[in-house]
Amino acid sequence: MSRRLALPYAFWMALFVVAPLVIVLFYALTTEAGGFGLENFIKLQVYVPVFLRSLWLAFIATVLCLLIGYPAAYILSRETPSVQNSAILLMMLPMWMNFLLRTYAWMSILEDQGLINNLLRSLRLPALNMINTQGAVVLGMVYNYLPFMILPIFTIIQKIPPSMTEAAQDLGANSRRVFRRVVFPLSLPGVLSGVTMVFVPSVSTFVISKLLGGGKQLLLGDLIEMQFLGGAYNLHLGSMISIVMMLIVLAGIQIMNRFGSREEVALP
């Protein structure tokens, strides 16, 4: 019975997950001229700097999100439900606005003639060069993806039964020790899904780097977009880049899962 119930889902997965993946793989392994093999993969060596840059910037953004997000989630979990609800609402509110619009807003904040620099100038302070830098790209990633770090960690910490921490306290652990030995290890699954949910979109973003980075240093997302929508128009190379990026991300998640708790995984 349960099997028959699962059939629509199996069909859905086959249609929208498996089939597209196979098509992408097929494109990655073929060329416009009809060749079959790893030709596209060999072409990728030119783009090694792009891979490294994307992974590096996404890594920094993820670490920053974790450093900001974990304490936020922890503090939030100790508040009363009404404070929690309004805090989460405030966090979600900007996300109801279009992603592109939010990033454009950052552009006008960071520009040389933007909000911050005009403010600095009116205070007779030297202007800062912020837009079109890697820092601006990382800022865009952190700003846009921070909620994806806070929410899973918050949910997990909140679910830790108070009896656990009480037991630790009864056994003589001080609050620092309770956090280090009980709360933090139990919250790791949340951290892992938070890290995944920030890292994956960061590594593949293309709008953020275009708008805040000035398009001077391509990221993987830009490179892929260029193959599909830009002048390059090489679906085969674009598919190969996507596949390799996916493999790198998958490998990263696997490694993280090893580090993490044995029973819980970052991705279900």
């Binding site: 089939a19 098509i23 030119v46 000035g214 001077k216 240093q217």
Partner: protein, 382 residues
């Protein structure tokens, strides 16, 4: 059980999908396949309105056409007027570069009835059989197209395109900061203005400027020339603020950047907003372009597309479009209505000695296009 179900479904889907993908290679017949719109006889606007004086009787009443145009390139209230006139709704969308338009047509994700590609892109679309031939004899307003715009290199015999606007590319700079006299693209390569320079975000336009600096043609297929041009761009990259297209407009107008290449038609509007901006046609030569109305082979309402194209060539539509763009009209009926002041505007209707320096982009052979794309992605990857 579950796994086999997935595998079988995936295999079936692939079998269905792959031949479809393979045809992306472009074997659409030039005549186009049968589509609903073709059941309606193709006519010009006036003939249609004469045939169906009551628009609700017209076979196209209640249908719609998908139009894809450059941003800020048409008086959009004309779309509403067109619907009131013919009963055909216009779904109006935008594309940012010729290349994006090309890939959206090639991948077949969207079906357009009227598009506004530029010269070289029209050449490529014709080469790949992605356009429908247009029977210009049916279009009542077609005779207004000036002879200079007929029999072009990209569309000999005017079989696939109806010229919409033409214009030139030039150099815009902010005279509040750039005080020396400027007549050369070299300003874009001047390290003195590090961080204040914008550059086109597409290989053809960007490398075109570098080719002119080197005294070469836009349409050269010589690999050494093209590589030299990209070397020049690589040297320029450290002083470039950003590679952008439409954003050039805002960034120059607001003073966020001081120097950038852009289109003369937009420059006229920008200079009204920011009086410090100056436009020059550089002495090395510049791009002259013609954008034309075309019907993609995948069009589903070709009859509606004919009406729309004919409508855009009417005097009133032409004049109203000129008000929002400031480009050059290829329509004699529209040109005749213009004030002398406009007709003598050196940006809209540059004098002959300037036009002599202009060059049109032609469709490049595939190997050269591949080289451009290769060098361009390398330039931005480093």
């Amino acid at each position: 059980m579950k796994k086999t179900a997935i595998a079988v479904t995936a295999a079936l889907l692939l079998a269905a999908a792959l031949p479809g993908c393979a045809s992306l290679g472009g074997s659409v017949s030039p005549g186009g396949s049968v589509s609903p719109g073709e059941q309606t006889p193709l006519m010009g606007l006036e003939a249609y309105l004469d045939a169906y004086p009551n628009i609700q009787d017209g076979p196209l009443y209640g249908t719609s056409i998908n139009v894809n145009n450059w941003g800020e390139y048409l008086d959009e209230s004309l779309n509403r007027d067109f619907r009131e006139l013919t009963g055909v709704t216009v779904n109006y969308g935008f594309f940012e570069t010729n290349e994006k338009l090309y890939s959206s047509i090639r991948t077949g994700g969207s079906s357009y009835d009227v598009i506004f590609p530029s010269d070289y892109m029209i050449g490529l679309l014709i080469e790949e059989n992605l356009l429908l031939p247009i029977d210009t004899d049916l279009l009542g307003n077609y005779p207004y197209i000036m002879d200079d715009y007929k029999n072009t290199d990209y569309d000999p015999g005017n079989r696939y395109s109806v010229p919409y606007m033409s214009g030139t590319v030039g150099l815009i700079y902010n005279k509040a900061y750039v005080t020396e006299p400027v007549d050369s693209w070299a300003l874009l390569f001047d390290p003195q203005y590090r961080g204040q320079i914008l550059m086109f975000d597409n290989p053809r336009d960007a490398a075109g400027i570098a080719l002119k600096m080197l005294g070469k043609s836009f349409n050269t297929t010589d690999e050494d020339d093209i590589r030299a041009a990209f070397d020049l761009l690589a040297g320029q990259k450290p002083i470039v603020q950003a590679y952008v297209m439409d954003q050039i407009y805002d960034k120059l107008e607001s003073g966020e950047a001081l120097i950038g290449p852009y289109y003369a038609g937009d420059a006229i509007i920008m200079m009204e907003e920011n009086e410090d901006l100056v436009f020059v046609h550089p002495r090395e030569g510049m791009n002259m372009f013609i954008d034309a109305l075309c019907i993609p082979a995948s069009s589903e309402n070709t009859a509606g597309a004919y009406l729309y194209i004919d409508f855009m060539c009417s005097t009133e539509a032409g004049l109203r479009n000129l008000e929002v763009t400031g480009y050059t009209t290829p329509l004699q009926n529209v040109f005749d209505e213009l004030d002398d002041e406009v007709r003598e505007d050196p940006l809209m209707y540059p004098p002959d000695e300037v036009m002599a320096r202009g060059e049109v982009f032609l469709n490049l052979p595939e190997s050269t296009r591949a080289l451009y794309n290769d060098l361009w992605s390398k330039l931005l990857s480093e």
